[in-house]
Amino acid sequence: MEKPTEIAREGLAALLGAGAEKAQCRFTQTTTDELNVDLGECSLLRTTFDTHIDLAAIKDRRKGSTSLNRSGGPALQEAAAAVIGLAAASAPDEAHEIAPAQPAAVFTAGASRPDRDKLYSRLKELLHEIGARYPRIMVRQAILDFTRTESALVNSNGVDFVTRKGIYRASVFFSSREGERVSSFNITGFSSRDLERSLLECGSLDTLLRQSTEQLVTRPLQGKFVGEVIITPDCLGDLLAFLSGAIGDGPLISGTSIYRDRLGKRIAAPVFSLHSRPAGGEICDGYFVTADGYAAGDLTIVENGVLKSFLLSLYGSRKTGLPRAVNDGSAFVVDPGETAFEEMVRSVKRGLLLARFSGGVPGESGDFAGVAKNSYLIEDGEIKYPLSETMIAGNFAEIFKSITAVSRERIDFGSALLPWVAASGVTVSGK
């Protein structure tokens, strides 16, 4: 194993020696032990060791960057020289900058090595439990891995951060089958610092497996209506991805973000509050250092419906004159509401329990159209039956404004902590 801080410092010295005025180097080494299930049986044990070096330099207001996954021999010196060449080829831009000096820090989370036997036994236990409880489920692929990351980030202003993180991650991809009948596939995942709990107890897996079996028999919807949707925690990520994308560097620098003039203003219903909390411990699969060299902090993005922060990097902030975010986003936490999930269902006259959205990636306007997968019709306050061939359309920005309730219950995915969210104004169409 190599020593991340020494290599990062070596990379920084190489950049400065090659002529950089300001420079940053991040060295990361990753070891992953990954156990794979394919077609219901353990198929592959994959162990990978990798290193990754990101080098960036600014000279005469011009920036160049490169990344490579080798550090031995002359690789660093050659890469540093190449970065200076890239910078010379770039257009000058006053907004290029590196993070200022901050107190040096070492961040540590999770185990340092996997328990390989436990990886195997937990995955076998999952297959056994699924076979016993949900015999019609076909586990198409399940992956349980342990990833150990050691990373060092240094820059020419004196930033010196080290991160050591160990995390277990699981994903399960499945469908149900009975005779000729096949259900839609579904997929979920979660992260954990340890393997103390059975995998079936983690995230939303047990609920989705049960629903998959129900979804062997679906009905297409007839006709079209505008109704309410209850968005499940697994599906809420699509909505959050739209919002975080729209308040990031690209659309704000480009000037096309629909939220460009909305900082401090209402963009969602007052029941909705969204945070990004990568560093505080609430999210076990978070991060401690931003890509541009700051110690990551926790951040409130939307508070009671009001946009409190964009997700701008240092470059994006300098380019737009708007405040820099204290982290890189993700690690989302949505505050729980006061309504029980069952109560949310009872309040729906006609609508959907939307469990997975399969559609075109919405443009910056937020308009979307797609298929409601693994979803259920709700009528007169009751979940009626699973649907097939049902499309939904609307606008993500409008959905945030039309949120009517947020559930008390939340799912802890390890990488996010999310509730069920009810909203109105979605067009639902069948055959």
């Binding site: 996954n69 907004a95 659309p251 075109g360």
Partner: protein
Amino acid sequence: MPELNLRDYRDLFSGYTELRAQENRTVNITFVRGNNTLNSRSSTGGISARVYRSGSWGFASHPVLSAENVKAVLRAAADSALFLDSREKKNRGPLPADPTTSESDFSTTRPRRSQKELVEFVRELDDHIASAYPELAGRTVSLRCLDMEKRLLTADGSYARSMIPRSFIYVDLALIRAGQPVELFDVYGGLGQFEEQFSSPEELFEKIAGQHRHLVKKSEGVFADAGLKTCVLDADLAGILAHEAIGHTVEADIVRSGSAAGGRIGQEVAAPLITMIDYAHSYKGKNCPVPVLVDDEGTRAQDAVIIEKGVLKSYLHNKESAAHFKVAPTGNARAYQFSDEPLIRMRNTAILPGSSSLEEMIASVDDGYYLIRASNGQADSTSEFMFGVVLGYEIKQGRLRRAIKDTTISGVAFDMLKTVSMISGEMNWMSSGMCGKKQLIPVGMGGPALKCRVNLGGR
């Protein structure tokens, strides 16, 4: 990529083993509204080994190509295969073998351009867009190049060396209408290094003018009317249809997990007009976008005829699935990074051209849509597919009318293919996207225009 003779390590193989050295090299230059936000190169490579033991696999990789690391990954992969086999005890037989040797290098022979020249090229294109279309609210121009270089040695005697490059320029234009952004992207490029695809920015000006004309019409567009509609899908959509709606359902691992194509070999699954093939490397004597001569298990890549005149003929296989189905492997096992194991992936999946013209197809629709450009797509185990549509027009009484806003189409593939009533005579390939299935992988998608009935999302 550093030189290392893989054959020097053949004696260290234990049982069926694959040893692969690989490097992926990228160039990424981006201008956002005139700002050079990214000017970067990257290189990711190393050595990996995969070992098969009675039905269980072990895999290991290391980023540094050295004799010591080759021995280490061979040992670690064998240990992992033993770990699993000692617990799983599947007692499966050997994998099929058909040793082959291949060298394929699609590198340019022209003088290479420097990074500075590449930046200048993108900047000139961006400057042209800024001056020609000053009303644009946003524009992003990106050059992305990927070289995939591999060397592979397998225990059953295959040796393959390949270098498959691709180069694309992505242009995303945006207008603000009634306070809302309206975007349209397009992609230019394909197989080959930059010098094979692009000579001067001026060559793209006319295409960008067409993209801009479509954007202006789209900004005045309407929401599509939701429901089952008669549509003419242009070649761009036919290609993604072939890939998403059918191609994934016939990947043999997906078939074994219960896809709708399971057990339907020999059955009529589409209109007799439809023939669909996953080409290995060439179509009518010309290279496909992703030419695969030997796959990452050392199998000589063969064209796989999926549907012939409406009848399902075969699935896509790696060695393990071929052994299960008792057929020959088709050469569809592909890995993206050096640290990835090969999975069953498509290569160049296409619906074959017919004999109609696009004009007569549009003229034959009384009330429907002409859908031109797709974004992302997804297929389900039920064979229900969807893909995003970012450019399309209404058809009324056989003539194109208003543009439509972004929408999504969906359908059940084998039902929808039975509604195909006309196919145009062109074959167009697209290859700018990546297919995702645990790993990303470059794929080619091709097709003519199709007239069919699909569900359209809208309001």
